[in-house]
């Protein structure tokens, strides 16, 4: 270990080490649980806190399409008082040599040309498929370090909190039996895969299809959704109704999803 404040290096031992060191994490790699992320497994992101943006309602906005966010999406998250986080996440392989910051600048020129930029945040966001194992001897990985973000949205805070709960329970259970083996800590992997991990797998397959759609197809689907009655309520969009409507209008999506699912099972 290295104390970054003093620069001194020293040894530290623990029964179990939790690797929760974020997207840039190396600890799961050292534990043999993970490889580096491929460029298409990483959204390249840039976000700016904007003041003085026109917000027609208390809605979050997602903007899709190759011109604003190739292979990803641009967002507007209202924060009240005419402020919003405005950002883009792009697939670097589809970006045509442009950076996330350049895409953000273009999106801001379109969506908030008169807004005042107040805080720029930049980073990578894992949208990779979940790890096969989250535990090794004396080690567990949690959060973005463990590819636990939602692969469709990139969101990961709630997932990380839930994973931390599961990991803590498995660690306590293992240590109470005097063990820190991969086998005993593996209860964490099993619980994750039974719950959030299972959902994330489905989101991963959906993302592979969704972000591969041509812009024209996305526009067509958006038009179809706008005519579906009861799609929204006071809490927002109803996801299941939306999926049903999309599949009813595009039966091919169901086949694509099944193909992606089966392909994923073979990996």
């Amino acid at each position: 270990m290295k104390d970054l404040a003093s620069g001194s290096a020293y040894d530290e031992r623990a029964e179990v080490t939790v690797g929760a060191d974020g997207v840039e994490s190396l600890s799961p790699r050292w534990a043999g649980l993970k490889k580096s992320l491929r460029p298409d497994e990483l959204f390249s992101c840039a976000e700016e806190l904007i003041e003085g943006i026109d917000l027609p309602g208390a809605f979050i906005e997602f903007h899709l399409g190759r011109s604003f966010a190739p292979g990803g999406y641009a967002w507007v998250f209202p924060k009240g008082k005419g402020r919003a986080n405005v950002g883009v996440g792009i697939n670097p392989l589809h970006a045509g040599g442009k950076t996330a910051v350049e895409y953000l600048n273009a999106f801001l020129a379109h969506r908030a040309p008169d807004g005042k930029r107040t805080r720029l945040v930049i980073g990578g966001c894992s949208v990779a498929r979940g790890l096969g194992a989250l535990a090794a001897d004396g080690f567990v990985a949690v959060g973005e370090a463990a590819n636990q973000n939602n692969p469709l949205s990139g969101g990961g805070i709630v997932n990380a909190l839930e994973a931390a709960d599961m990991a803590a329970a498995a660690i306590l259970s293992a240590l109470s039996r005097g063990s820190s083996s991969a086998k005993d800590l593996g209860a964490y992997t099993r619980e994750w895969r039974r719950t959030v991990g299972k959902t994330n797998d489905a989101f991963h397959h959906a993302a592979r299809i969704f972000y591969g759609l041509p812009d024209e197809e996305m526009s067509r689907m958006a038009r179809e959704l706008s005519g579906v009655p009861g799609l929204f309520d006071e809490k927002g969009v109803k996801p299941l109704r939306m999926v049903r409507a999309l599949v009813a209008a595009n039966p091919r999506l169901l086949l694509q999803f099944a193909g992606a699912w089966l392909g994923g099972k073979k990996r």
Binding site: V23, E24, L26, P39, S44, P92, G124
Partner: protein
């Protein structure tokens, strides 16, 4: 100031140490240590992936594929 290490170049004026490059670097040649991006010159291949995923364009890799 720019650092040049065996192909990968880091523009320290633009780099925000977000770690995207470290996540994607197959060789663990880029490591975030606190508020710094450390480049392990001897590990860089160079493949160009880190420069590809960098959100700000702070990395350049002329030798990358």
């Amino acid at each position: 100031m720019n650092d040049s290490h065996n192909g990968i170049t880091v523009d320290r004026k633009i780099c925000v140490v977000c770690g995207a490059c470290a996540a994607a670097c197959p060789a663990e040649a880029l490591v975030v240590e606190g508020l710094s991006l450390v480049v392990a010159q001897e590990r860089c291949r160079p493949c160009g992936i880190a420069a590809l995923v960098c959100p700000t364009g702070a990395l350049a890799c002329p030798g990358g594929k």
